[in-house]
Symmetry: C2
Subunit: 343 residues, 2 copies
DNA sequence: TTGTACGCGTTATCAG
DNA sequence: CTGATAACGCGTACAA
């Protein structure tokens, strides 16, 4: 029962006393084939339960109609939404998706990329891991003539297609919003500065302070607070300062913001009256905490669609010179209760 | 620059004045090949930046080392966790994952399955859409000699490998728990009864009532309340009853439970004192609502690993007769504040 | 319109 | 241990 032989174009050619090539043509809806025989072929193909062997077809045609996706974690809201967006757009074009997760590990990321290269995928879409500083494996993709698209967490140095969020601007707007609300001492929880997205968010924070004539206080900037636990610790530390902050921008994620909120509540610090909080990503739960959390929506699903469309657009581009193209999506500040100091 | 030619075993054979088959052997670490030449081959392979064409290899070997996964939605916590689990287990064995989403649409599900059959995947893992009542496309998978594994939402009638949750038992335990807490009139929000999982959950509810000697009240059972909005509506309706329920089991999801909680709060009904609430799935947010929501953990990541291991185990099975195998995972009741009537 | 013949890149099976 | 050759299933230029 296992691995029964599947019907091929030979089988149906034999049965019809035809040449396999005719069958192939009919199956591909070629114009130069008699309507009657075409119908006959299609009919018996259905009878024999024929399905094209895409492997053979792709081998012959020299492409795989497959796109490889590498993300740190599949089961993270932002990434699974991006993937859903990519899938939605590529599916209509008959493309398949091969999904890999790096688990934030450099070594596994390299492995994933190599597997995808072996698979002869037509395009690799990647958001790099937090460990990734070396880009040989990405260069390798290009060297193999495979289209490379980076998104969100990108290696700036590499000239490739990119789809990013305007992290700098959105952070700027978030912090400006908090300042306008009347918060005077806004602290920053930073992510690993190896990743460009976290550098950009920090820059936005700094620019907001500067443009509003507010001094930068190093003690209010905490490095590597990019998980809920780390952020909780950082918050305890910040709130114990002689001059504690009156607002915290958890630039790494909403989970960080949640850590802040929980510690503040535990320490009897009133949000938003005594402490403003802003997160990043617009996770579902930010709407239902009490108070609800101000955050930044990244349009993750749309981002996925953009990635896919960028690829298709690039494919149609007949110019020999490949011009690096970068699409920046402007995230949107979602103001909620956690930053409503003034009512 | 586009689609530059990639080096093949011919290229490296030519350069070394060897036969392609020798190169192939060396690359596959065959025992019968001179150590010296093997080293030489491996070295020049690296020099020429060679990577095996998995397409050709798989075509020759007659399998794809690829597993297709079809789920209603990729970006839904439960499913993305299952996928992450599958990926985690299959990756180590050198398998790739092709992911498709049916978007809860029967037609798209059929399309997905057909694509995967075309791709000659070795195995298809599926959780059916809410629309799916006809199973021809699943039978088609089997007819093509492809291993089929159903999980979570399965077609009971089909004899295939299955990995499910024991929905009946967990629902029984959840409702029993509520009754023990002192709730007398427990309402049920049902999902579409087309899906076996929702039928099972209803059965568990009914059995819990029966075994505790509590009468079944049809007015307290609301059909098709399986989104947050539908559940909110249902809750408004229930709480307006002359004899309203004092507890609601949102058997479809935690989102439904959230809808219940929001309406209760808006109507000034105190949770858990005047209304107990239990959800299903253990979404992250259930921990942080106020009050936190009692729910049922499905071990989704583990479920994915189980699916993968079931496949590998089946592959090793040399018996000609394929014995249908069903693995049932026992979910775990997580009791939280929303059902603490007695303190 | 149809048939012939070959190649896509590997691997398996023979000989040698 | 290595070389020659066929085959996996399909698509296509060329000839008929």
């Amino acid at each position: 029962m296992k691995s029964k032989k599947r019907t091929t174009i030979y089988d149906i050619a034999e049965k019809l006393n035809l040449n396999p090539s005719s069958v192939s043509r009919a199956l591909n809806n070629s114009s130069s084939v008699n309507d009657a025989t075409k119908k006959l072929i299609l009919k018996t193909a259905k009878e024999l339960n024929y399905t094209r062997n895409t492997l053979a077809s792709n081998l012959r045609k020299g492409h795989s109609k497959t796109i490889g996706v590498v993300v740190p974690r599949i089961n993270q809201n932002f990434f699974s939404n991006v993937i859903a967006g990519i899938e939605d757009a590529t599916y209509k074009q008959g493309y398949n998706l091969i999904i890999c997760q790096s688990n934030e590990l450099y070594d596994k990321e390299v492995q994933c990329v190599n597997t995808l290269i072996n698979q002869h995928v037509d395009c690799i879409v990647i958001s790099i891991s937090v460990e990734t500083i070396d880009h040989k494996h990405l260069q390798n993709i290009i060297d193999h003539g495979i289209q490379l698209i980076q998104f969100d967490r990108v290696a700036d140095e590499l000239e490739t297609l990119k789809v990013t969020n305007d992290n700098e601007q959105s952070s700027f707007e978030a912090v400006s919003h908090m300042i306008k609300q009347g918060y005077k001492r806004v602290a920053l929880l930073e992510g690993p500065q190896k990743l460009n997205i976290f550098r950009q968010r920090k820059n936005g924070y700094l620019r907001a302070l500067e443009e509003n004539g507010i001094p930068v206080i190093p003690a209010l900037m905490i490095e590597n607070a990019w998980t809920k636990e780390l952020s909780a610790n950082a918050t305890r530390q910040l709130l114990s300062l002689p001059q504690p902050p009156d607002a915290i921008f958890a630039s790494t994620s909403d989970f960080s913001a949640l850590g802040v909120l929980e510690v503040a509540t535990a320490m009897n610090v009133k949000v938003p009256e005594e402490l403003g909080i802003c997160g990043y990503s617009n996770e579902d739960f930010t709407e239902i905490t009490s108070p609800s959390i101000t955050t930044i929506d990244q349009f993750s699903f749309y981002m996925g669609k953009t990635v896919a469309n960028l690829y298709f657009q690039e494919m149609e581009n007949t110019d020999t010179m490949v011009v690096p193209k970068i699409i920046s999506i402007k995230p949107k500040l979602i103001t909620r209760s956690s930053t409503q100091k003034t009512i």
